[in-house]
Amino acid sequence: MHRYKFVLYRPLQFLPVLFGISIITFILVRLIPGDPARVLLGTRATPEAIARIREQYGLDEPFLVQYLYFLRNLADGEMGRSILYKIDVLKLILTRIEPTLMLVLCSVVLSVLIAVPVAAVAARNQGRFADQAIRVISTFGIGFPPFWLGLMLIILFSVKLDIFPVSGYGNTLPEKLTHLFLPSLTISLSLSTVLARSLRAAMVEALRSDVATAARARGMPESIVFWRHVLPNSLVPTVNLLAVNIGWLIGGTVVVETVFALPGMGQLLVRAIFSRDYMVVQGVAMVFACATVLINFLADIATVALDPRVKL
């Protein structure tokens, strides 16, 4: 079990990382052109009113002071107040975090469910028709932009066939899952192709490896060789690729949430950017960054679990 000891002390390393993330998001958000007070009050606001709002939200203070306020609030579990929604940013994010989390989770599960069998079929029929067909289809999967793909899925499954809802998010779990299916599929169609390609390459390699030869020489049928030796040895590189992609995916939910009108963090972020709602943009960016750190941590745990040679 000593191989898992890093689970205890690795989170200590997160502290400096999170500190760095806070500085970067703080600076980046303030580099966005435009004045939030003016956006809030509209174009005809008097200079006095703008000055009052700026003072109220601390926008008139120097950068460093603003950052220190931000840190102090963070320590209290607050990320400042949203200018637009007039509530604490953290509370606001908490109301929006669930749809995004569910969307990412469903997309990943769906992607893995698609990628593993597809890669297995391609690798075991290397160079033959099934492999070529999968290669062509997956090129399309990578090529089509998600916003277009999402719209096409809506037209097919919601408008024409009327199986899945067009947009929105339900209240009960089954309702939520039906609403999440099309958005998850949209993401999975591109994510699974990336995963399947990596997995196929690793499997082709493993099918030719000495491990597979030795198993065949023991009289193992091809199915046992594949599922017990080839697959476990192919997973590690793909797990790391998946982790990288989930990090990218969290940012990528913005488009899909907009297309399917899911009330998640992506949608919140878009609205916050348009209204120069600094605090919200900053909070969402921080949550995204933390999620990426956490996902890589989980990927490390998965790697250790999958490969007994790895020590972290």
């Binding site: 030795a214 065949r216 020489a217 017990r228 999958l306 490969d307």
Partner: protein
């Protein structure tokens, strides 16, 4: 003679390439009797591994196919048997073990499960019964605590134990025939001796028939009953081992035997002793050298003594061999001498200057030393022709004017016995021996005061090994080269080097003239090493009194 257990008749395997069909195995006929050990020798590419793969129809490429002939196992034809029958034959009737246990064992599966896998599939036992059976097999191949070791992964074991695990997996279903493909090539000599003895024990206990593929005639002489010599996909000679070794009828067999670097007896011609000038400065003067590597994580730091207090002098024109098993620190010592690894304490003087003193000394050192590497192919840049590679070295050196460079490249090739046409060749169109000659030419291009050769013949076939050793010997005599020759093969070192240094666990345990050290070893470890070398004379049994050697081998394995 009773009917053979395995009868191979006119077996032909062809490769369907773009350029037409080529026979890789050409009408091979061989018999294997019950309980017999057949040695299959020949160089890489001679088809010995392919032959064994063909027996169980596990051809390494889909472009290969069995084009003719028959393989009969106890009277049943295998070449056209359905796949379902072959599944039972593989593992159940014919077990296989391979050269590299590290790559053939599944790194993410427990050792015991890999042994039990075959038992479950072939004998249909449930998980618990299979575990018990596998634990039993692990005990038979020499695992000391099989119940606990069952749950370990391959990387937790040494190379010798991994090979034992692979033997266990091959034996798990009680096959009648064991095919061992270079089973000890990747192992140290003392471990090799243990594995060979284990194979012989198992064969005696189970009445197993064994096909042993090897390039080492010494192994064949020690453990086999009959020998088959293969070349270019054909069996050129088969016979009882004593007769065949004593009176080989085929010219190729004779050259194989002549190339075998057996340890010669006392009568070996003494190598030319070079007179040392009194007061000559040693080329390399190592004093109380320690090299420590840090290991462990952030919180628990420890260090490994890779080189532990080594003192060694190499005089100009001397050829010094460093021998020892893997992990003995011989390569680390070489790297330290070349300034490639930081020194923890002690001094290394090159030509009188301390190389640890600063960058200038290190730059001089690098200009005047050269290294020849183990893997001849990967040590050459695949995108450069040999001529470009040599010219680059000469240009960077700047010792001769650029107009003379092409002529010098030609001279260098002459020195290493390569034709001038190799100036335009690239490594991928050259054989291993030719690549290694090019690598030596590159080392000579530096006009070095010292050449360090690290296991530079380990990857080559025996006949090529003999040629490269001969080349080094010639160069050493003609050019009064100073050579440090690192090898795990004692016989080669004895043939080439005047002086030998035996390393064990980072320290020098014995040092002296090669003849003295090998014929009258003073240290027990040297004696164990020498005793573990399989002798080509079948009447000189391997490790007759095994106690001393195994004691050391156990220490080395742990």
């Amino acid at each position: 003679m009773s009917a053979p257990l395995l009868a191979i008749t006119d077996l032909t395997v062809v490769h369907d390439g773009d350029a037409g069909t080529r026979a890789l195995l050409d009408a091979v006929s061989l018999d294997l009797a019950q309980g017999e050990v057949l040695g299959l020798v020949g160089e890489s590419g001679s088809g010995k591994s392919l032959l064994c793969r063909s027996l169980v129809r596990l051809l390494p490429s889909s472009r290969l196919r069995i084009a003719g002939g028959s393989v009969k196992l106890a009277g049943h034809e295998l070449t056209d048997a359905p796949e379902s029958v072959m599944l039972k034959v593989r593992g159940g009737e014919i077990g296989m073990i391979f050269q590299n246990p590290t790559s053939h064992l599944d790194p993410v599966m427990r050792i015991g499960d890999q042994v039990a896998e075959g038992i479950r599939f072939h004998q249909g036992l449930d998980a618990r019964a299979a575990r018990a059976a596998a634990t039993d097999v692990l005990a038979q191949v020499g695992f000391s605590d099989p119940a606990r070791q069952y749950d370990s992964y391959p990387h937790e074991f040494s190379g010798g134990m991994r090979q034992r695990a692979m033997i266990a997996a091959a034996l798990s279903c009680d096959p009648k025939i064991l095919i061992a493909d270079e089973p000890t090539t990747a192992l140290d000599v003392t471990i090799q001796a243990q594995i060979l003895r284990l194979l012989m024990d198992i064969r005696a206990k189970r009445g197993l028939s064994v096909i042993l593929i090897t390039h080492d005639l010494g192994i064949v002489a020690q453990v086999c009953d009959r020998i088959a010599v293969m070349r270019h996909g054909r069996v050129v000679e088969v016979g009882e081992k004593r007769g065949l070794l004593a009176a080989p009828s085929h010219a190729y067999t004779r050259s194989l035997i002549a190339s075998h670097p057996s340890l010669p007896e006392e009568e070996a011609a003494p190598k030319a002793e070079k007179l040392q000038m009194p007061g000559a400065v040693p080329v390399v003067d190592i004093e109380k050298l320690h090299v420590r590597f840090a290991s462990g994580g952030l919180f628990k730091r420890s260090s490994v003594n890779a080189v532990d207090g080594v003192t060694l002098r190499v005089m100009p024109g001397e050829t010094v061999g460093i021998v020892g098993e893997s992990g003995s620190g011989k390569s680390t010592l070489a790297r330290a001498v070349l300034g490639l690894t930081p020194v923890s304490s002690g001094a290394i003087r090159f030509d009188g200057n301390d190389i640890t003193s600063g960058r200038a000394a290190l730059a001089t050192l690098r200009r005047e030393t050269a290294m020849v590497f183990q893997d001849p192919f990967n040590a050459l840049n695949p995108r450069m022709t040999i001529g470009q590679m040599l010219a680059e070295v000469l240009r960077v050196q700047g010792k001769i004017e650029s107009a003379r460079i092409p002529a010098r490249c030609g001279e260098l090739l002459d020195l290493v016995g390569l034709g001038r046409e190799f100036l335009d060749r690239k490594p991928r169109s050259m054989s291993g021996g030719q690549c290694q000659r090019a690598g030596i030419a590159r080392a000579l291009a530096v006009d070095p005061k010292l050449i360090i050769a690290d296991e530079c013949v380990a990857a080559l076939d025996v006949t090529i090994q003999a040629q490269i050793v001969e080349l080094f010997r010639g160069l050493a005599e003609r050019m009064s080269l100073t050579l440090i020759f690192i090898a795990h093969d004692l016989a080669i070192v004895r043939n080439l080097c005047q002086r030998v240094v035996v390393m064990h666990r980072g320290a020098i345990v014995e040092e002296g003239r090669s003849e003295d050290v090998f014929s009258r070893p003073r240290h027990a470890y040297t004696a164990a090493l020498v005793a573990a070398v399989p002798h080509i004379d079948p009447d000189k049994p391997l490790l007759a009194p095994p106690k001393m050697a195994t004691a050391y081998a156990h220490a080395a394995a742990n």
